[in-house]
Symmetry: C2
Subunit: 424 residues, 2 copies
């Protein structure tokens, strides 16, 4: 991984690139450290709306021209908004890097927010909002986040609330953009078929509109609360459920311990939850655990879906499996999980989108890139005792329980309580 | 692409491999030419059930041992059932190819179908069936297939019908397996970090249980019918809709013309539907066209989702855009689409799962592999006039219309009719 280089451009933007030999394509883009967590009740959804509007026209390109220009070289653009980051990136053949970079720099620096385009895009965003709402295993994560971080911006939906999205104006977008889209908050990154020096020259040339003299405003506070919520929908066949707990931040000393904990409990096919809930009892099709880490905090949870008649049994088994992690894990489980981390690190390096996301995260979180050897060292340093201690830490948390489906979450709560877990 | 080699093993199994330089990982697996189309009303779902049961134990491994063995080398296994193919494959680091191949060969050749495991897995499959049913943009494709191929096996759901899945026995699985899982019907394939010769030696050694002396039974007939169906669900915010037509087979002379037609109409961001329906009118978040080709036939369709109040307008615009393709396409559109095909061919070669799927399809359909130059030549040979002629062919078809959502499909049908399209 000595083909990774990072620097800070003259305008203050952090830049990081990874050359992957043998690749014809390159992923290149901008990761802005501003996301839904920066919002409040009066503008919830604005980060995501702004991401949409970036594609709707600049001072020199219409929406159609943006699409045609990138696709005429066989490339494509994408973007996403998360809790703490908004990303804009393109995938093109290496020889077309300049085309991608010109367009990306333009949509990031010179969006026009024309009223007519804004009104049409509001319709698109609202349709996206309804689509999320209609997808049980999508909307349940919004409910979960809300319960974990009740009445805090970290708990609001990324796509926004319907009545707020209905009112966002071009001036709101401009104000939000000037506040967060400054050089200090941007990471420029690329991975694949590239030359580091050429790319930085292009980026420096293209990124002249951003300023560095804006004071950092990104340090939003949030605390895990916990609780429960039922979204009852009689027309569904299944009940989707998440059983969650207070988690850890990106910078927590237990970061890799959490990764191992989550993998053994509910990672792959050999994980405890997959074996016990699906293989041994046939209670579900999907079950997995997840750990979402943010700057200051995080959440841990188990997602599954089953029919109402099996929900209590499933909850009982899930609670039991989480608790049983505090009795320790076997050497065999430990060995399997470490092998999985090692292989997945290598496999991630074979994909330029994953590679790009990886180096951006490292720059954002640690201020530098980590090579595979260093990550593996951190994973190797985790002990079975660390996992045990982390389990106790997780179990000390109040639970966050959400369900979407035919019945409410009362049978889940009852089973958690009978297993001694703390419900709110 | 001269690193692609294909051969037929001594037992009759076709084998194809692609070495990708610079990769540490390899995807390896078996693609069996048997899928849902081989079923009838008495055993619908059996192809998919059999795929599930492959992971539930062999004469020498329990389900847990299968999972642990592949994950202990950091690999993972996957499988899927489609209309005409059932696939079993693994991704591992190159050095662990033998481990993956041993397990895959075992689950394919020596499954036990123990009653106890069968009953538990029936529960899992039923939960999967409910999950599909609860996901609007998933179940709508089952409805669409049913309307396109009314009362024919090509129209049945892959996951099966609840009452049929409830009754499938171990003997049914054995009978189906012995009928379709024979050497003539299997393609063994791998892509990534591999040596062709070593891999074929391993495969020949591992695949001794399959026979070649079974007469081919796979030539199922099916004809496109068309019609309409509404799955009314009052609790949904949106109405999901597919407007479809008779399509083309994998071997049709117009195969690449169809690919270009579909790309210009509803492929990327610069496509007519994306520009007209989403960008200009803000009527939806998702819209795209698709062409599914099978051995004897295929279907073409446009999927979108919007709120009930906008469904008629959306249908009117979609119908208009499809019809307008018969007036011809511009040189610019033609150029963009060809650039997209060229780039996506190169990009697919940078992923070992896509590479594997690509060479398997070529072996299955053409009996040989095609290098990128040959595919590009076929794409280059398509003319604007070919696209115009194909549009007339598509428009001569009766439509297949399905909706899932708040209202029925009557407003869609009315708009298709007012545009002169044929409804059933």
């Amino acid at each position: 991984m000595n083909n990774v280089r990072s620097t800070t451009l003259s305008n203050g933007i952090r830049a990081v690139t990874k050359r992957i030999d043998g690749f014809e394509s390159v992923v290149v883009g901008y990761w802005v450290e501003a996301g839904e967590v920066c919002e409040d009740l009066s503008n919830n959804g604005i980060s995501h709306f702004l991401e949409h509007m970036a594609f709707k026209g600049t001072t020199s390109r219409t929406a159609k021209e943006i699409a045609e220009e990138i696709e005429s070289v066989g490339g494509y653009m994408n973007a996403y908004t998360s809790k703490e980051v908004t990303a804009y990136f393109a995938k093109v053949l290496g020889e077309d890097t300049k085309v991608a970079l010109n367009i990306l720099s333009d949509i990031l620096q010179n969006p026009t927010f024309l009223t007519e385009e804004l009104e049409k895009e509001r319709g698109v965003v609202l349709q996206e909002l309804y689509q999320v709402k209609d997808t049980p295993d999508d909307i349940i994560f919004d409910h979960f986040q809300e319960i974990c971080f009740k009445d805090q911006s970290m708990g609001y939906p990324i796509v926004g609330q319907e009545e707020v999205v209905a009112k966002i104006t071009a001036d709101d977008l401009r104000e939000y953009r000037s506040r967060y889209y400054n050089a200090d908050n941007i990471v420029f990154a690329a991975a694949g078929n590239l030359s580091h020096d050429e790319l930085l020259d292009m980026a420096t040339e293209n990124l002249n509109a951003f300023k560095t003299d804006v004071s950092p405003v990104h340090d939003v506070q949030y605390n895990y609360v916990g609780g429960s919520y039922s979204d009852v929908r009689e027309q569904l066949e299944q009940v989707h459920a998440i059983i969650g707990f207070d988690g850890i931040s990106n910078l927590d000393a237990d970061y890799y311990t959490m990764a191992i904990f989550s993998s053994i409990l509910g990672g792959g096919m050999s994980s405890r939850l997959f074996q016990e809930v699906r293989e041994k009892r046939g209670l579900c099709y999907s079950i997995y655990s997840f750990s979402s880490s943010y700057k200051r905090n995080g959440v841990f949870g188990v997602y599954s879906a089953t029919t109402a008649d099996k929900l209590a049994e499933l909850s009982d088994v899930v609670a039991g499996e989480i608790i049983s992690m505090s009795n320790g894990i076997s050497e065999k489980e430990f060995k399997i999980t470490k092998a999985q981390f090692k292989a997945s690190l290598l496999m991630a390096g074979e994909n330029n989108t994953s590679s790009c996301e990886q180096i951006v995260s490292q720059i954002r979180i640690f201020g530098r890139t980590l090579d595979n050897a260093e990550v593996l060292e951190k994973i190797d340093a985790v002990t079975i005792d660390d996992v045990k201690k982390l389990t106790h830490r997780i179990l000390a948390s109040k639970t966050a329980v959400v369900t979407v489906g035919k019945c409410d979450c009362s049978s889940v709560l009852a089973k958690l309580e009978s297993n001694g877990l703390k419900t709110v």
